[in-house]
Structure formats: structure tokens, C-alpha cells
Symmetry: C2
Subunit: 274 residues, 2 copies
């Protein structure tokens, strides 16, 4: 997907909400378990219900790999469904991949060609040649881990010191790579203090923000500190939306939660025009 199209969708829907499909079969409504592929059915119903108030969908590969090739099949069906029915939704493989060039080539092929995702999350630890195979795809986006939302992010991402933390080095160095316009960055919502500085380094890049909801980050702080002139944010919520209910009314309940996020986003987007 072209970046312009994503920006347009954000303004059209007044939303920068990303739906995280961390689908756990032990947490979905029990009446779905009689379906031939309960995980896919659950995903499909959520997507059908929420597609007009979200702009992106993030599929967390771990929750599918847990079930082996069967899980991988549910993942395949889910991304195929989105691409055929809702091509306007920006899709993210939350896979945290990254390896030597020859291997990253295969991961890029897996997620950009075989599965046709618009983007993938990539770990920077192995350096430039581990990321470049992803960057060469036109209109596909590489979402580099910057400063993540979890507690352990301080262990190495802030190494060696507050003044020159690794995550900043990652962002600065990545800007010099070819096709760096295909980069986006993962910045946890729990790190709102850092967002202003990060935004000054990458004024135009999209930031993927997990950590709203279950992990405790604030949407308003994220927006105030992290929005670009064209919003430039994708705020993800997974558990808070998809497990809002676990009965016949689960779609209603998850819609209510997602809609409340979208409503807050609408107000924040409108405030940009002020």
C-alpha cells in the first residue's frame, strides 16, 4: 500500500487505530469452537465488524505459530481475507524477524510476497544487512523496533546511557540506509516521555505504537508527543478490544471499546486543525 493512501484513510475514518489480532483460542467465545477454524472465524467476524473504525490490522505471528502448520493456515486465511475484502486496511505482520541477508531475503519473501502483508516488524540487532532485504520492496514497510513498550526495553535499548541510548542509534543509523523512506518504527506507548525527541528525529515517519490498554500507555500523551503533521501514528490495541466480551455479544462489546478509542482519536485528529 502507498503511504499516501494510508494517510488518506486515517483522515477519512478519523482513526489511527490498529487492531491487534493476538488471537488465543483459549480466550475466544466458546460457541465458536465448533467452527472448522475457530481462530479464522473469530478474526473474520472482528474484521467485518470493525473495518470502518480501524485503519490497520496487526497479526502477531506467535499466536499462530503456537499451533504449528494449522495455526499458520489460520494466519494465511486471515490475511487473504483482509486483502481481498478490505484492501484499504494496512496490514502488519508483527513477526519481529531479522537475520543475515540471505535469510532476511526469505523472511521478506514470506511476508511481502507469499502472504502479501503491507509491512512487517523487524529487529535491528543484526544490523543493516539484516534489514535491507525488507527495504527494497516498493510500497512495503519495514517497522523497525525502536523503543519497545515492555519493562525489559531498558536492558539494552537504553544502553549505554540516557544521552546516547541504543534505540536512538538504531533510528539515526537507519535513516542513512537506502530506501529508508520505507521505514516505520515501533515505539511503545509507555514511553511517551521519549516520543517528542523521537518525532524530532523522524518528523515524517509512521510510528507503530503498542502498549495502549493492557500495558497501560495513554492515547492522549502519545498523540500530543508523537503525532506528525499528518498524524503519522498507528496505535495498536489487541487484548482490550478482541477480548472485551466472550459471549454471544462479543462483537458488540469489542466494537464499543474500539469505537471509544476511535472517538478519542477523532477528537485528537480534529485538534490538529486548530
Amino acid at each position: 500500500m502507498e503511504k499516501n493512501k494510508l494517510v488518506k484513510e486515517i483522515y477519512r475514518k478519523k482513526s489511527f487505530l490498529c487492531l491487534g489480532l493476538d488471537t488465543d483460542i483459549s480466550k475466544i467465545p466458546s460457541f465458536l469452537l465448533s467452527e472448522s477454524d475457530p481462530v479464522f472465524t473469530f478474526n473474520k467476524q472482528l474484521i467485518d465488524s470493525l473495518n470502518e473504525i480501524i485503519v490497520a490490522i496487526k497479526i502477531n505471528t506467535a499466536f499462530y505459530e503456537e499451533h504449528g502448520s494449522k495455526g499458520w493456515l489460520s494466519l494465511e486465511k486471515t490475511i487473504k481475507y483482509i486483502n481481498s475484502k478490505y484492501p484499504e486496511l494496512f496490514t502488519i505482520a508483527d513477526a519481529k524477524r531479522g537475520d543475515i541477508g540471505n535469510t532476511s531475503d526469505r523472511y521478506a519473501k514470506a511476508f511481502f510476497e507469499t502472504l502479501s502483508f503491507d509491512s512487517i516488524t523487524v529487529s535491528p540487532y543484526m544490523g543493516s544487512d539484516s534489514v535491507k532485504p525488507f527495504l527494497k520492496y516498493k510500497n512495503k514497510f519495514t517497522i523497525l523496533l525502536g523503543l519497545t513498550s515492555n519493562l525489559g526495553s531498558k536492558d539494552f535499548q537504553l544502553y549505554p546511557k540516557q544521552e546516547n541510548p541504543l534505540f536512538k542509534e538504531v533510528i539515526l543509523k537507519s535513516l542513512k540506509w537506502n530506501e529508508s523512506n520505507n521505514l516505520m518504527y515501533v515505539i511503545g506507548a509507555t514511553k511517551a516521555d521519549y516520543l517528542k525527541e523521537i518525532r524530532s528525529i523522524v518528523p515524517d515517519s509512521f510510528l507503530l505504537i503498542p502498549g495502549i490498554g493492557a500495558q497501560g500507555g495513554s492515547l492522549k500523551d502519545t498523540f500530543v508527543n508523537g503525532a506528525s503533521n499528518e498524524v503519522g501514528l498507528l496505535v495498536n490495541s489487541s487484548r482490550a478490544i478482541i477480548y472485551a466480551g466472550n459471549n454471544n455479544d462479543y462483537l458488540k462489546k469489542s466494537f464499543k471499546v474500539a469505537k471509544s478509542y476511535q472517538f478519542e482519536m477523532e477528537n485528537l485528529i480534529n485538534s490538529l486543525d486548530d
Copy 2:
């Protein structure tokens, strides 16, 4: 698998060779393409041929994911075959995973339970809580990326300076985690200069060493600088072995290459007794 058992196998076979199954369907002998699952058949034949001169098998997930759920099925069949027929082989999922705790839990389950690998490679970028879900499995091993074999390893693994590079901080910090005895480390064979120092920090840990062969590392330098008192090395070769031939005689050719590595290893192991 217990660590002791792996050590015993290394001495019994006089080998610390790890076979890397980076199986690329476009590079396997064409007469195998008529098989129902050419990738699995190729893997199976290599394993049957080489099992007595190798001690470990590393499966690079990227090469399977490239083919979607079909590829994941070949991976499943391969690991199942190894576990049932050659349980004495130490198995490595070269997957470079790592995410927030709740998600790493799923990756650990995917590779340690669903697929029953003995170990998995994990990226340290997201810190302690992204690694700990893997560590809690008894007799399962978490092979943390330390200093990798590729050129880009210098970008962040050597940050900020030669004296206190990130990769050293990763190893030092990881030693303080609970169940750190379940840790091994990836150290590229192309980084033999660093091996002596790394070995002094982790005198007893196994090191997984890629980069021999196609990437240019030296087996002798690796051993001299990196061996522990009980060898403590798994040296991987993928392309140099599995694509040694691409005709009817491919098994003979790959055996010859693997055997020449094993022969060199036998001499090196014997030199430890001197």
C-alpha cells in the same frame, strides 16, 4: 535434551558439527521435485546420511515460512522425523524470535512444545522479559544472539565502543537471569578475535557458531579461541554441505564435505587431551 547428553555425543562422535537445513527448493536436486514434499525428502535423506557424523541440526525457519503453511508443514515433518528416529541429535530452531513476555510465551510454546525442538535462537533486543519465557523450560536451551557473523553485526552489536560493546553487555546481563544455565550464545565464526574474551566470560556455555564455509570463518581459529574444557561448541554449516552436489550423487558429495569437517573436528577434540 540434557546438556550432559549433548557433551557425551560430541565425544562419542568426535564431532561438534551442526547441520544447517536452510533448504531452498530451487537448489535441491531436480529429480526430487516429483516427490510429494521435496523439501522434506531432501532433509530426510541428508539426515539419514549424515546423522552419525553430526551432533546437531539447525532448521532455519525463514526457508520454510517462505512457502507459507505448506513450508511450515515440511518443517513439522522434518523435526518430527528427527525426534522419532534420531533423538540423540540436538535440534535448533533458528528462528531469531523475541517479543514482549506474553508473546514470547507463545513462541516458546510453539518451538519447545508444539514442535519439540531442543533449542531456539532468540534476539536480545527487547530485553530480559522477552527472553525469560524461553528460559523456564527445563532441558530446553535459549541460544541468545551475541556477536553474529554478518557484516552488519558491527552496526549495533559493537555499539557504542570497542571497550564496552552491546554484545558483551547482552552476555553479562544474561548471566544474571534466572535459569541462565539454559542459555547458549550465537557467536559468528568470522569473529574469532572476540572468541577468547567471550569464552572467558562464559567458560561453560555452549556457543553456536555459524559462518564456517560460505561466510568464510575458520574452524581451527574458532576451536583454538572458543573451545571450553568440554568442547562447548556447535559449529554450523549449511550451504557448503547441503548444496555440495545437485545430482544423483548429492548425498555422496554432501557426506564428503561434512566428513571433512568432522575429521578436522576429531583432530581438534583429540588435541584437547594433549
